[in-house]
């Protein structure tokens, strides 16, 4: 009886992402691959919302960070903070990703536009098979109070 129930569990798996709006930092540490954890530790920003999805070889989703303190911050300053957090973890700047979908920016009061920052990381080069690729596209609200990240990991 339990084996058919597992198959029901497989069917019950929807194609929508799972959304988390409470304990997002803790959930993020569980759900996200380790290279993405720097996003959970950007100074002065706390994770506010996480929408995560996966298939058998990849995982992707959106993470929203909100500014902890009052006041605004210029986009360039926020961008610099993110790069400072990412660089020690061996992330590098890159161009636009075609396979990381833009989230619904209007939901966060932003117009659809090119990302403010795109980061990439590869792991497992030299091993048999293609390396695992990590990617982030980042949009920063004009007042710096929100950061929206679309991320993706592909382990082929």
């Amino acid at each position: 009886m339990l084996v058919p129930a597992i198959l029901i569990g497989v069917l019950a798996c929807t194609d929508k992402s799972r959304e988390y709006t409470t304990n997002v930092a803790e959930t993020g540490r569980q759900v996200l691959d380790t290279p993405f954890h720097f996003l959970l530790e950007v100074p002065d920003y706390i994770p506010e919302r996480l929408a995560h999805q996966s298939d058998m070889s990849s995982a992707w989703g959106h993470l929203v960070l909100a500014r902890k303190t009052e006041g605004t911050l210029a986009v360039a300053a926020v961008r610099a903070k993110l790069i400072e957090a990412a660089r020690p973890k061996r992330w590098t700047l890159t161009d636009h990703f075609e396979d990381i979908e833009e989230p619904d920016l209007a939901r966060y009061g932003m117009a659809s536009r090119p990302e403010d920052l795109a980061l990439t990381l590869s792991k497992g080069e030299g091993k048999q098979g293609p390396p695992t690729r990590y990617g982030c596209r980042v949009w920063i609200a004009p007042d710096g109070r929100r950061i929206v990240v679309a991320y993706r990991v592909d382990g082929e």
């Binding site: 058919p4 058998m56 396979d99 293609p130 690729r133």
Partner: protein, 339 residues
């Protein structure tokens, strides 16, 4: 039908046991570790976290476990095809609704936002999983994959990029027209560089089938002739692009997903079949209180397959390749001096 472990195997439970020997428990007894397992005692040399081997069951019993677990994987592969069919139907519905009077009316009334159309996983996802379980490339499946690849946005984008590269070579060339060998060389160089620098990947619905391509090659170019147009003479070429991939469950990952799948693999390798099945089933069943992780079912099933592969119960990585014809048009913009 419960746990595919037989009653005989379930009864084989050591209670108490010698000092340091791991006791086989079910999930309801004993102290629970983070994945519902009894934590291991430290090994004699002080190393933590290693799962102690159980003696292997008799070969016939092991074959029963193997058969049951592989049958389950096969069942899931058919479910994947069923899901793909459902997604196709939903996409058809969403596409039909899009831009329609009904959609406008619903929006005006504020009844609901029309959901973003579903990504349809390729129908071949299940077929390819079975191909992997059989350890044998299915030419029909590969041919269908080629057709899906050809229809994909990624392939259209590659075609545009190759056209641009070949056009640039044509513009620079002093030959009257590029030969097929020239087009082959330019295309191969361009695609190889693209794959090495940025990767070539078929995402969305094709991700479970091919995903990232491990190698790309060109298997011949045919010059299809030329045609005079107002903008110049257009030369047509058919380029046979060969994509290579390996279907397996071994990849570099991290975090909770990696910990979970390695633990599943360790349990299976240690012949702790009951613990293995419980650790899998508890995460897969739609009973939230049983879940020790936040992994979704696709990740859990991929972990299950990883464990079977590590145990050596699948035929292992399956390499395959497909040739997809790419048609390009190149403008010979000006008359060139003959060599």
């Amino acid at each position: 039908m419960g746990n595919p472990v037989s009653k005989k195997a379930k009864a084989k439970k050591v209670v108490g046991g010698k000092k340091g020997k791991q006791v086989l428990t079910n999930r309801k007894s004993g102290r629970q570790g983070p994945l519902g397992l009894k934590p291991n005692p430290p090994a004699q040399d002080g190393r933590q976290g290693q799962i102690e081997m159980e003696p292997p069951p008799p070969p016939q019993l092991q074959e029963i476990f193997k058969g049951q677990y592989l049958d389950h994987a096969r069942d899931v592969s058919y479910l994947m095809q069923g899901k793909s069919g459902g997604q196709s139907a939903k996409k058809w519905f969403d596409d039909t609704l899009k831009g329609s009077k009904v959609e406008r009316l619903l929006k005006e009334k504020g009844v609901r936002d029309i959901p973003k159309p579903t990504t349809v996983q390729s129908f071949l996802g299940g077929t390819f999983l079975r191909m992997y379980l059989d350890g044998k490339v299915d030419p029909d499946a590969v041919e269908e994959a080629g057709e899906e690849i050809k229809a994909s946005d990624t392939f259209k984008d590659l075609t545009a990029k190759v056209t641009k590269a070949v056009q640039a070579a044509e513009d620079k060339s002093s030959k009257t027209t590029l030969e097929a060998a020239d087009v082959e060389r330019v295309t191969k160089e361009h695609l190889t560089t693209l794959r090495e620098k940025k990767g070539i990947a078929f995402r969305a619905g094709l991700n479970p089938v091919i995903g990232g391509v491990s190698k790309v090659d060109v298997k011949g170019v045919t010059a299809l002739g030329t045609e005079d147009t107002p903008t110049g003479t257009v030369a047509m070429y058919r380029i046979n692009v060969n994509f290579f991939d390996t279907y397996d469950f071994e990849n570099e990952r991290s975090g909770e997903y990696d910990r979970y799948r390695k633990n599943l693999a360790a349990l299976l390798i240690a012949n702790r079949f009951s613990d293995f099945w419980n650790a899998y089933q508890d995460e897969m069943l739609p009973i939230d209180s049983w879940h020790k992780t936040k992994l979704d079912n696709a990740a859990i099933f991929a972990s299950y397959m990883y464990a079977l592969e590590k145990k050596g119960w699948t035929p292992g990585p399956l390499s395959w390749d497909v040739t997809v014809p790419m048609d390009i048009l190149v403008i010979q913009k000006r008359a060139k001096a003959k060599k």
